[in-house]
Amino acid sequence: MRTSQVRSVRTRLWWRLLLVVPVIATLWVPWFARTRPMLIGLPFFYWYLMAWVPLSALCSAVVYLKTRDLD
C-alpha cells in the first residue's frame, strides 16, 4: 500500500469513530430511563431516544461527507 493510501485509511477510521457516539448514547440505559424533564407531554425516555434519530443521521452525514473522497 502506498503511504497516501495508508493515510486515507487512517483518516477514515478517525472519522468513523463518530459513529460510535449514537451507539453508546442509546445503549447506556441508566442515562435516559427516567420521566423528567418532559417535552410536549412526552417522558424524557421517549423524546431522548427520538432525538437520537436525527442526531445519528447527522453523525452519519458528517462521516459520509468527510470520507466520501476516500471511499
Binding site: 449514537p22 442509546t26 440505559v29
Partner: protein
C-alpha cells in the same frame, strides 16, 4: 363505515398490481440473468435504494407487532428505536466492503461470498440454509399483517372464504415477482412508503389532538409501563434486556438475506453510505408508530365491545387497526390499511427473491447442477421464489400464528450465527473454515436449546456473570459462544495443520480502487 374503507383499500391494491408487472420493463435488461432478476442488475441509485431498503427492513409485521408490544408491555418495546439507530452505522461501514467484493466476483448472496472467501461449498451451504430457515417464517409473518387488516375491514375470517384474500394477494405477488424480479418490489416500495408516511403523519397529528395531547395520553398509561423497571439489587434487570435486544437485533440485521439483497442491488458503495444518513427518516416513523401503542391504550380500544372478538383472535396485534378505525373516517382507514397490506407484499417479495437466490447459488448450482447455464440458473431462481412463497402461504394458513412468531424469534438467533463467517471474512482470512462451521453449529444448537427452555416466551435469558444477573438477548450470548469456538478451534486446527483451503479473493477486492 367499513364499506368506504374496503373500497379505498381494494382500489389502492388494484392500482398497485400493474406496477409490479410494468417493473419488468423498467431499465430493461435480460431477466434471464440471475443478477438482473435477483439483484435488479445492481443499478439502483440513492433514491430507489432508500425506498427499497426502507420497504425491506420496516415490514408490515413491524407496523403491527411493534405498537402491539408497546401496547402490551410498554417501554421495553421501544428497544426497536436504538436498534434501528445503531444498525445503520454498524451495517453501512461493513456493507460497502461486501458490495465491492460481490461486484468483482458476481456474488449474489452472502453465502456466495463465504463460499469464495473460504473456498468451502459446505460453509456456503450452511450460511444459505440458515438464511432460508430464518426467512421463511418472516415471510409467513408478513401475512399476519394482511390477515389482521383484512379481518378488520369486515371480511369474514372463518373457513376458506377467510383465507381467500391472502391467497389472492399471494398469487398476485408471486406472479409479478416471477416476471419482474427485484424490480417489482423496488417500484411498489415507493407507493408503500408514501402510504405509510402519510398514515403516520396524519395519525400522530390527528389522534393526539383527539385524545387531548401527549400529556393526557401518558397520564392514561399505567406508570409501570411508561418506564423500564428499575433493576433490583444484584441484577441489571430490564436495562440490560433493553440494551442487548437492541444491539443483538442490529447485529443480526446485517446477516438477513433480504437486507443483503437490497444492499447488493445498489449502484455503487457510495449509494450505500449515503443511505446511512438518509435511512434514519424511517426510524423516526418507527418511533412514532411505536407511540401508537400508547395511544391505543389511552383510547381504550381493548374495551370497545365491537372489537372484543378481534382482540380475542389477534390479541394485541389488533391494537393499531382498532385505533385507526376508531379515529379515522372510513376512507382514510382504507388508505392506512392499504399501506399495511402493500407494506407486507414488498418485504415478502424481496425475502422470497433472497431465499431463491440462496437456494439457486448454494444448493442448485453447487450440488445439483454444476455447470448449468446462466439462463437455467435464473429460471431455477424464479421457480424457487414461487415455491418459497407458497410454502410461506401454507405456513400462514395451516399453522397457528404463534408458531410463525416463535420461529421468527428463533430466526433472529439463528441468522446471527452466520455473522462471524460473513463479517470477519470481510476483514480477515484468519478464521479457519472448519472452526467457522463448528462455531455456527455451537451457536445454532445452544440458541435453539435456550429459546426452547424459555418456552418461546421472549428471548431474554437471565445470564449470571460474576454474581450479578444480567438478562441478555439470547442471540448475543450464543454469538459470543460461537466466536469463542471459532477463535479456539482456529488456533487448534492450525496447530494440527488441518487443510485451510484457498481464497478466491484478494485484498484489493475489498478496498476502493485507488
Amino acid at each position: 363505515m367499513p364499506h368506504a374503507a374496503l373500497i379505498v383499500f381494494l382500489s389502492l391494491f388494484v392500482l398497485v398490481t400493474p406496477l409490479g408487472f410494468v417493473a419488468a420493463r423498467w431499465r430493461s435488461a435480460d431477466l434471464n440473468q440471475l443478477q438482473e432478476w435477483g439483484l435488479g442488475g445492481r443499478r439502483f441509485g440513492t433514491l430507489v435504494t432508500w425506498f427499497l431498503l426502507g420497504g425491506d427492513m420496516y415490514t408490515a409485521y413491524t407496523f403491527v407487532a411493534l405498537p402491539a408490544l408497546v401496547f402490551g408491555a410498554g417501554a421495553i418495546g421501544f428497544f426497536a428505536l436504538p436498534y434501528t439507530i445503531i444498525a445503520y452505522p454498524l451495517v453501512f461501514v461493513v456493507l460497502p466492503r461486501l458490495w465491492r467484493v460481490a461486484h468483482k466476483h458476481n456474488y449474489i448472496t452472502g453465502a456466495d461470498f463465504v463460499r469464495g472467501r473460504y473456498d468451502s461449498p459446505m460453509l456456503g451451504l450452511l450460511v444459505a440454509i440458515t438464511g432460508i430457515l430464518a426467512t421463511m417464517p418472516y415471510i409467513a409473518l408478513q401475512l399476519v399483517g394482511i390477515e389482521v387488516v383484512v379481518a378488520a375491514l369486515g371480511v369474514p375470517s372463518a373457513g376458506w372464504v377467510g383465507d381467500l384474500p391472502l391467497i389472492i394477494a399471494f398469487v398476485v405477488l408471486a406472479a409479478y415477482t416471477y416476471t419482474s424480479g427485484l424490480r417489482a418490489p423496488a417500484l411498489i416500495a415507493v407507493v408503500k412508503d408514501l402510504l405509510i408516511y402519510v398514515t403516520v403523519i396524519v395519525a400522530v397529528i390527528v389522534i393526539p389532538a383527539e385524545l387531548g395531547g401527549y400529556g393526557r395520553i401518558f397520564a392514561a398509561v399505567p406508570a409501570e409501563r411508561i418506564m423500564l423497571a428499575r433493576p433490583p439489587p444484584g441484577s441489571l434487570g430490564s436495562y440490560s434486556a433493553f440494551a442487548t435486544l437492541a444491539l443483538g437485533s442490529a447485529v443480526a440485521l446485517f446477516a438477513y438475506p433480504h437486507v443483503l439483497t437490497g444492499a447488493l442491488s445498489a449502484r455503487d458503495p457510495k449509494t450505500l453510505t449515503r443511505n446511512m444518513a438518509l435511512l434514519p427518516s424511517y426510524s423516526l416513523a418507527l418511533g412514532l408508530i411505536a407511540l401508537l401503542g400508547f395511544m391505543a391504550l389511552a383510547a381504550g380500544v381493548a374495551k370497545v365491545p365491537q372489537y372484543a372478538g378481534y382482540f380475542r383472535q389477534y390479541s394485541n396485534n389488533f391494537a393499531v387497526p382498532a385505533l385507526f378505525m376508531r379515529s379515522f373516517p372510513g376512507w382514510f382507514t382504507g388508505v392506512a390499511f392499504a399501506g399495511i397490506a402493500i407494506g407486507a407484499l414488498v418485504p415478502a417479495a424481496i425475502m422470497s427473491i433472497a431465499a431463491a437466490n440462496l437456494w439457486t447459488r448454494s444448493v442448485y448450482r453447487e450440488y445439483l447442477r454444476p455447470g448449468c447455464s446462466d439462463a437455467e440458473e435464473a429460471r431455477q431462481a424464479k421457480l424457487v421464489s414461487l415455491v418459497v412463497k407458497f410454502g410461506a402461504l401454507l405456513f400462514a394458513i395451516g399453522l397457528p400464528t404463534t408458531f410463525a412468531i416463535n420461529l421468527q424469534l428463533l430466526g433472529g438467533i439463528w441468522i446471527i450465527q452466520t455473522v462471524p463467517a460473513l463479517v470477519f471474512g470481510l476483514y480477515t482470512r484468519w478464521c479457519h473454515r472448519r472452526a467457522l462451521a463448528l462455531g455456527w453449529l455451537a451457536g445454532m444448537a445452544m440458541g435453539t436449546w435456550m429459546e426452547a427452555g424459555l418456552g418461546f416466551k421472549g428471548a431474554v435469558y437471565p445470564l449470571r456473570l460474576f454474581g450479578v444477573i444480567v438478562p441478555t438477548y439470547i442471540a448475543l450470548i450464543t454469538l459470543a459462544v460461537n466466536v469463542a469456538v471459532v477463535v479456539v478451534l482456529t488456533v487448534l486446527l492450525r496447530a494440527l495443520g488441518v487443510e485451510e483451503g484457498g481464497d478466491r479473493t484478494v485484498p484489493a477486492d475489498y478496498e476502493p480502487a485507488a
